[in-house]
């Protein structure tokens, strides 16, 4: 941590403009202190399926956080993220003239917000700007957490989310009860992994007319118009009942995972070679959520349920008509019916007297799954034990994907994640671990089988 005094006007640095609060104006007269901190994460993955290969989707990351409290009722925060991909994009001599070919990188103003405490009313807090709004009580597997899109840049890092611009107001009715209201002006989509990582079906797996051969393909994303009426909003009421924290929530917006709504197959020659254009959109959804966390007989327990109310999505497929080339064949199929579906996570944890910690969760519906008939079950169990004054942590996590409980023998996927981490000193953590994926064809974990890997990670905080 470094504390320095700067004379720069911090909101400019943060990209946030705030006026009208007299307390803030008073704070400008004295130089606000800016607290700079952050971390550096280094991540190297070795795929071990056939031969040992270096994975190309992980990234190293530098996070720089700037914080300031110019006055008692104002807090400013921003974080800058620099991602350096473990890839080499150079394919020609010209590429070698650019540093970014050898080390592709991205720089992002990841978060930038202002907290206005006791805004107008003593019990009202406001957060304005690009922010992470974390909902849900489950451990990373949160079906009610739909305000920020998922960051699948590293799909094996479950539960990562991308901050989005918005206004988040919380009114504290009492110490135990509060009511939140959130407005997100526009939809932001999920981030996909770079390199080879099968998160969704690609175009080559989609059904094509018989006798055709796919030679070209392209996809086209259509976001909702950036109109105010297309903005998203949510509300949440939180409280405590019999020593259980709970919340009831409602979200109205868009599904941030794009869905195919149109396929156009166009002949490129007379030999049966075709081009496929895939059009994707973001369906409207409403989500009613409930979560709670507490304990029974000393066992920590949590539960989270989300009822998704989607709009119907039809996929229109246009194919060449061999009889009448000017009038293509058009077929439509409902791929997301307008019927509610429920995702949930139930879990618990316990620490035994010998220090062994166990955490178990049952999740119905993965992040990318939607529609009543497409939700699978996942049981995740983790065990941890710390040694040497908490410097060494041994962890073993395992997951079972249940595609069809009635025929489990043929419909399961597995993941096993052993990890040892060591903190030789404060602010440094070294980890060595592995992902072993398996199961039966057609399951999510099996499709990731090529991603069996050993990883080495280093995290340094400052």
């Amino acid at each position: 941590m470094t504390r320095i005094l700067v004379s720069l006007y911090i909101p400019i640095l943060l990209g946030v403009s705030i006026v009208s609060n007299p307390k803030i104006c008073m704070a400008q007269e004295v130089l606000p202190q800016v607290d700079i901190s952050g971390n550096l994460k280094l991540d190297k993955r070795f795929l071990i399926t056939d031969s040992v290969k270096i994975a190309d989707y992980p990234y190293h990351e530098l996070n720089l956080k700037l914080k300031s409290n110019p006055s008692q009722n104002l807090y400013l925060y921003s974080s800058i993220k620099l991602r350096l991909w473990d890839q080499n994009l150079a394919s020609s001599l010209v590429d070698l003239t650019a540093l970014s070919s050898n080390n592709p990188y991205e720089l992002s103003l990841w978060e930038a917000y202002a907290d206005l405490y006791s805004f107008i009313f003593d019990k009202l807090d406001l957060r304005i700007g690009k922010q992470r709004i974390a909902w849900g009580t489950a451990d990373k597997l949160n079906p009610t957490d739909n305000l920020n899109p998922d960051d699948f840049s590293d799909p094996l890092n479950f539960g990562e989310k991308i901050p989005t611009e918005g206004v988040n107001a919380t009114y504290y009715i009492s110490d135990e009860y509060n009511l939140g209201a959130i407005w997100l002006p526009s939809l932001k989509s999920i981030l996909l992994p770079r390199g080879e990582f099968p998160l969704f079906d690609d175009a080559s797996t989609l059904p094509l007319p018989p006798g055709t051969n796919l030679t070209e393909s392209a996809d086209h994303l259509t976001f909702p118009n950036r109109k105010v009426e297309n903005s998203m909003y949510a509300t949440k009421f939180s409280g405590v009942i019999v020593e259980f924290d709970f919340s009831l929530s409602y979200f109205r917006g868009y599904d941030d995972v794009p869905i195919v709504n149109r396929l156009v197959v166009t002949p490129v020659d007379t030999l049966g070679n075709v081009r496929l254009d895939t059009y994707l959109g973001f369906p409207e959804i409403q989500v009613v959520g409930f979560d709670c966390a507490g304990e029974l007989y000393s066992i920590g327990l949590w539960g989270e349920v989300a009822v998704f109310l989607p709009e119907e999505v039809k996929m229109i497929m246009e194919m060449p008509n061999p009889v009448d080339p000017l009038n293509p064949i058009i077929q439509d199929t409902i791929i997301l019916p307008e019927e509610p579906y429920v995702k949930f996570t139930l879990g618990g944890d316990y620490t035994f007297k010998n220090g062994i910690y166990i955490n178990a969760q049952w999740m119905h519906g993965f992040f990318t799954e939607r529609g009543r008939d497409n939700l699978e079950d996942y049981v995740m169990v983790g065990i941890e034990k710390k040694f040497k004054n908490d410097e060494i942590n041994l962890a073993l996590a395992g997951g079972l994907e249940i595609k069809d409980i009635k025929d489990l023998k043929e419909n399961y996927g597995t993941v096993i994640i052993p990890e040892v981490s060591y903190a030789p000193t404060d602010n440094v953590e070294l980890s060595l671990g592995a992902f072993f994926l398996g199961g039966k064809t057609g399951t999510l974990f099996y499709t990731w089988k090529e991603q069996d890997q050993i990883y080495v990670k280093t995290e340094v905080s400052f």
Partner: protein, 244 residues
């Protein structure tokens, strides 16, 4: 002889009455430790392992009455911003800034190490010994009372017995020994450099030694202020997740 006994009784009775029972002395010790209405303190925690290697943490603590505490980690960087809120013996919450989430601490965690120190969540959170323990005077010297504390039925403590040495001068316990059911001495806590700050007796150095791990945590008072008028609303989940 009978007359002598009567005189002796007459001489010693006031002393016994003045000294009180074990529970009364424990109550006085508890009152002495929580004498001010509120307290705001910055503390340096040094964690020392059996090889003598040390790690330093810095925390800020606000306390209101005997029950409510709010603790924020100021350093090192990897735990900075972590917050711990104690509303009662049964209700504790932890805020982890990396996840932007507040979580209620379940009972199974309360006897675990508090952020790598030799204090457990219960040691840090519990300010009221009289709620959980029955005290008996085991020994009395000119300087101190030696109390034996045993848990009350259904109390949520991990120790079977505590031996507490309470100073007669100011009632701040100088030393507390923590034993398990087998009678093994697990931890020893020492309050040292006890001085008057803002007219309240205040230990400026607290050492908790874990004998099994051969590890100790030294908590030194860097800055302290009493009776600054902290409000009840300061001790809430709202304030826990709020930046200082």
């Amino acid at each position: 002889m009978r007359k002598f006994l009567r005189i002796s009784a007459a001489l010693f009775l006031p002393i016994i009455l003045w000294g009180g029972t074990g529970d009364e002395i424990l109550k006085k010790a508890e009152d002495a430790m929580n004498a001010s209405k509120d307290r705001t303190a910055t503390m340096k925690l040094t964690l020392i392992d059996k090889d003598g290697d040390s790690k330093v943490r810095e925390i800020k603590m606000w306390q209101l009455g005997k029950e409510k505490r709010l603790i924020k980690f100021l350093s090192p960087a990897d735990v900075k911003g972590v917050g711990f809120l104690v509303l009662s013996d049964n209700e504790m919450h932890l805020y982890m800034p990396a996840f932007k989430k507040t979580r209620r601490i379940a009972s199974h965690v309360k006897n675990e190490s508090f952020m790598g120190t030799d204090f457990s969540y219960n040691d840090i959170g519990k300010c009221q010994y009289t709620k959980d323990f029955i005290a008996e005077i085991k020994k009395e010297t000119e300087e101190e009372y030696v109390l034996e504390l045993t848990p009350k039925p259904k109390s949520d403590v991990n120790y079977a017995r505590l031996i507490m040495r309470v100073s007669k001068a100011h009632y701040i316990p100088g030393k507390i020994e923590y034993y398990n059911k087998k009678g093994t001495l697990l931890k020893v806590m020492k309050n040292e450099h006890i001085e008057k700050v803002d007219s309240y007796w205040t230990p400026k150095k607290v050492t908790m030694k874990n004998l099994k791990k051969k590890h100790e945590t030294v908590m030194e008072l860097v800055k302290v202020a009493h009776d600054t008028g902290l409000k009840n609303s300061m001790f809430s989940k709202r304030m826990l997740k709020r930046a200082e």
